[in-house]
Amino acid sequence: MRIFSRRAREKVVISILMMLTAVAVIPLFWIVGSIVWNGASVMSIEFLTSLPAPFGSSGGGIGNAIVGTLMINCFASAWGIPLGILTGIYLSEYASAGRLSFIVRSVVESLSGVPSIVIGLFAFTVIVLTVRHYTGIAAALALGLMMIPLVAKATEESMKVVSNDLREAAIALGIPKYNVTTRIVLSMAKGGIISGSLLAFARISGETAPLLFTSLFSFYWPTGIDQPIATLQVLIYNYAISGFGDWVSKAWGASLLLVMMVLVINVAVRMLGRKKY
């Protein structure tokens, strides 16, 4: 009798947990489902490779926004990832209990908590107001700034898990500290750092607020990073609220593309994470 009731209780607990999990997962499937449902119909080679059609006429695509998002992400990564890695190396290997490391740590942590719109405003003030036009450079500045704390944290954490025994073994061989850090610790933390950088890339791919008043938008192919540049994020924002049927469905298509991009990166990171020493 007691055994039965214990089993029964176990079943009740499990079914409650499963129900709650379902409640948490349903909205996710709902979102992805509606994006696929609404976005898949507009997918075509033309949609992915051509410029937007003039307002009012159907056809055309979002090619310039795809290129623009990748371009701004790459420029942001080009400075955000190296700086993030260097900060992470400092925090993991060189920071002692001193005041400087306390400041660096606090700055990195607060930076990750700053709302993205504020970071966008900063880039707007520093660059857009100075050069007096919207520019992709300001967007790359804002997004790169957002990547730094993400990459720094990932770097620090993957270096910290490298056993201290290995650092000691290397130091006892008379290996200088910079080689202990780069050739042993960094080399072993490589996987985690790459994963962290990819996730930071995926993360900024969804940021819209900092782009609204930096890179703005354009109906043409980007000619340079110093120009206003179309991005998938701003395109979704503009098209979705336009009320114009063709544009709304194109916004769904762009959403699908963006979600797929983030999904592919996340799956890649998971596969990468499986290979360990």
Binding site: D165, E168, A170, G174, I175, P176, N179
Partner: protein, 250 residues
């Protein structure tokens, strides 16, 4: 008999806690000296003062002198000291991101200086000197951590020997190993004696008796007794030593 390494009134602290008190000890060249004593007696700290590793602790502090061929190592470049005085740790710790051969010459390759040494030859000689070459010669490119525990520890000894150190410090090198691997390493230490000065910490009194020429007994951070291993075990002078070696405490 020549003195290779000598400590003069060596004291060490962790923060405010003194863990070594005025230890003066002279190690003879090309002899095996065993350091014995109960856990927490300062053996590890002592050995880590000999290659300037103790000072890497954020709150580690050292006072006194350590003379290598008469020169105080605390006045030398720490990296030069560590190249002359190699170290083997309790747990085998080959670099997991390197192959067997890269592990063997890691110290040379990452020294930050151009080396004229023929690295392949160094790999072969170092691995032969620890009796590992025949076992691994066909897969030198395999990861160092793919070896068994005993093989990994011999690889770590080879890695230290590849630097051609004058002294080698061993901190309980067999305590993580099975009996068969332990006896191989003991055999290796006896063989090393003809070329190099060995200082070995051991928790195992029997091991000290088997492999060392000289034995030092540390207790609560102080040197209690030091002498010829045979005399040390047959007629210990201090009653504490006698109680320790007869297994009444440890």
């Amino acid at each position: 008999m020549a003195i290779k390494l000598e400590t003069e009134k060596l004291s060490a602290w962790f923060g405010k806690k003194q863990v070594l008190k005025d230890v003066s000890l002279a190690f003879e060249e090309k002899k095996v000296t065993a350091l014995v004593g109960p856990s927490g007696c300062g053996k590890s700290t002592f050995i880590r003062c000999l290659n300037r590793m103790h000072e890497l602790n954020p709150d580690g502090r050292v006072e006194g002198k350590v003379l290598l061929d008469g020169e105080n190592i605390y006045g030398m470049d720490p990296m030069d000291v560590r190249r002359k005085i190699g170290m083997v740790f309790q747990k085998p710790n080959p670099f997991p991101n390197m192959s067997i051969s890269d592990n063997t010459v890691a110290g040379i390759r990452l020294s930050g200086e151009k080396s004229k040494a023929d690295l392949e030859e160094v790999v072969e000689r170092a691995l032969k000197s620890v009796g590992l070459y025949e076992e691994v010669k066909d897969d030198l490119k395999r990861s160092g951590t793919s070896l068994s525990g005993g093989q990994q520890q011999r690889l770590c000894i080879a890695r230290a020997l590849a630097m051609e150190p004058e002294v080698i410090l061993m901190d309980e090198p067999t305590s993580a190993l099975d009996p068969a691997s332990t006896s191989r390493i003991e055999e290796l230490i006896r063989k090393l004696r003809s070329e190099i000065t060995v200082i070995i910490i051991t928790h195992n009194v029997g091991q000290a008796a088997r492999i060392s020429d000289m034995t030092a007994f540390l207790y609560l951070g102080e040197l209690i007794e030091y002498g010829d291993t045979k005399e040390f075990f047959e007629s210990p002078k201090s009653p504490i030593t006698e109680r320790y070696i007869t297994g009444r405490f440890g």
